[in-house]
Symmetry: C2
Subunit: 358 residues, 2 copies
């Protein structure tokens, strides 16, 4: 049942693209929590995960496809922001939170592949393109179950509540994204609301959850929640920029794929906003859209041309300015915390989010 | 996005079949907890459920399609098995558990429709047949999120852990079911393991969870867990019997649909076991199976003939004997509890499970 579907091509165990691995720069940033990140990996890969061989293999294949482990790293770094007596090791509850956060993120990626029917993810064929669809839904559900299991292990009622709120926000984010498809004239606020639900919610459970588990003061909990929200917004804005400016080898998916599949993101909004003749531009988009279903090749050509126009405009620079604003606002939330190796790592992580190419 | 898919027929808000409503008999059985069941409904239908109109409508449509509310009723009845000072009202945590259990059950039904691609559920068109598939996955995820939210409200770490174990067991049950498809010679044990994961796990979280929330003794918690498991097994066995003996108007789906879609259940196993010439029967099934993909109409005819043979054999009576064994074993677990209106209601519920026609 987790065997390739007859129509499938490729192989889920195929080499993940370089894109999915942490860059050397990111790895050195995460050095302060490398030991704890290894504990997170061990927890996620525990052999008792399930007795069902096919499911265990699917689960491990998905985990082995990697990812930057950025969200668990943020949880670990935040948890260490206030020095404790035994500074050497974080409590198991924080490791569980970090594992829950990464597992939740992975579960959403698996389901996203069903929801948007994409064929490539992290440079490898999506599960949905090689497994029967029911299996992909189930594999995602299993990972949601694992995430719930890890969060339950924290034993912290409020953290568990924040986590369950996140589950619902994630769905709302997906639905907002569906509503917004092929809407080229959305309000900018609705874009930010959508990415807050879809992306920041997981960053937020990582950072706020860590603060709660470490019994930080209410004010510090609030700040770390905001910190997570802001870094999540910046991360998604850069993601949306890279969809315009990145290249397929780095991204593991074709550039311009957002617009091609009807997702209008910040660079496009800013491009429209700064366009000297918006009326004409909108007419142009409408005309192009008429090819979407009946002549997909023409539609793809037109999209490529819009993508080139966006890249040639000020929209990319403006989008980076917005992302930097969120990183700065996030870092300002760390002012309450003493200087430490962890805080410096989070500051550097903000730069890494802005400078990343994948 | 929660609008009917272009290819869809029917209407999710259409009249649910009578099948989905509690029978007058069941309603009178649940009288002792009618007030608390109303609290569960209120909690599930709370207007703050989401700000997104389309999602709220979908959520309410799904809830309005009803169901017997058997699982939450069992949680409520179990919670009342030991008299407390204020016997009039159960604590909010038990109401949250009951809401979580029903929501989890509903979420699995929604996803099942995607996983097995069925067209009818509770007599109404499935969501999957009227919504785009991505929306159905999301609606299910939202309900999983709601269930997690309700269980988090109990604030009871062990109950939350049992709940997250259930999430994983449910997936394992589905996968075991997929593995078992078109396997006509499975061991009987694997059938029971599968339905324990797929069905009993939710009954168990209802009954064990109630015992934990009410701080029953460890022995009573164990007994109520077993009670839930046994009633769940009986419930599923009867479900599988009704798929052979029931009629479409009652069931809301065609009789024989399990076998038609490749699910071999207890009546078929017992029929094979009691067959005078098993070699011939197996050859007959193999021959029939060869039509499955290339001539579905012939396959359907052959299945109808197998279904008639099963119904004419002792297999149905034997299956009922098995179901009754589980109900009796479940009721024996209640011996530790004093006689009460609630205990009598659970005893009667066991009979209702065996006698139900829908």
């Amino acid at each position: 049942m987790f065997r390739p579907a007859p129509s499938g091509s490729g192989n889920v165990t195929g080499q993940p693209a370089a894109a999915s691995q942490p860059s050397p720069n990111l790895m050195s940033l995460l050095e302060p929590v490398a030991g704890d990140l290894a504990r997170v990996e061990t927890m996620m890969a525990h052999r008792d995960v399930t007795d069902l061989r096919s499911l265990r293999k699917a689960y491990r294949d998905i985990l082995a496809r990697g990812g930057k482990r950025l969200r668990p790293a943020m949880a670990l770094l935040c948890a260490g922001l206030v020095p404790t007596r035994d500074a050497a090791e974080l409590p198991d509850s924080v490791i569980s939170l970090a594992a829950a956060v990464e597992m939740l993120h992975t579960a959403t990626l698996v389901h996203d592949d069903v929801i948007d029917g994409s064929a490539l993810r992290r440079g490898a064929p999506t599960l949905n393109s090689v497994w029967p669809q029911g299996s992909t839904v189930l594999a995602g559900n299993y990972m949601f179950g694992q995430a719930s299991h890890f969060i339950a292990l924290t034993g912290h009622a409020r953290v568990i509540q924040v986590f369950s709120e996140t589950l619902r926000e994630l769905v709302e984010g997906e639905i907002l994204q569906m509503h917004a498809m092929h809407e080229f004239q959305l309000a900018r606020n609705s874009y930010f609301h959508r990415i807050a639900c879809k992306t920041s919610s997981i960053f937020r459970v990582a950072t706020e959850g860590a603060a709660l588990l470490q019994s930080f003061s209410a004010d510090r909990v609030r700040r770390l929640k905001q910190f997570g929200v802001r870094f999540g917004l910046a991360f998604q804005v850069v993601d949306d920029i890279l969809d315009y400016t990145g290249d397929q080898a780095d991204l593991g998916k074709p550039a311009g794929s957002d617009l091609l599949s009807g997702h209008c993101t910040l660079p496009f909004f800013l491009y429209m906003q700064g366009h000297p003749d918006r009326e004409m531009l909108i007419a142009d988009i409408r005309e192009a859209s008429s090819y979407r279903n009946r002549e997909p090749a023409v539609w793809a050509d037109r999209i490529r041309s819009f993508v080139a126009d966006v890249c040639a405009s000020d929209a990319i620079r403006e989008s980076y300015r917005v992302a930097r604003g969120h990183v700065d606002a996030g870092l300002a939330c760390l002012d309450l915390f003493p200087d430490s190796e962890g805080r410096r790592a989070l500051t550097a992580l903000g730069q890494e989010i802005l400078q990343r190419r994948t």
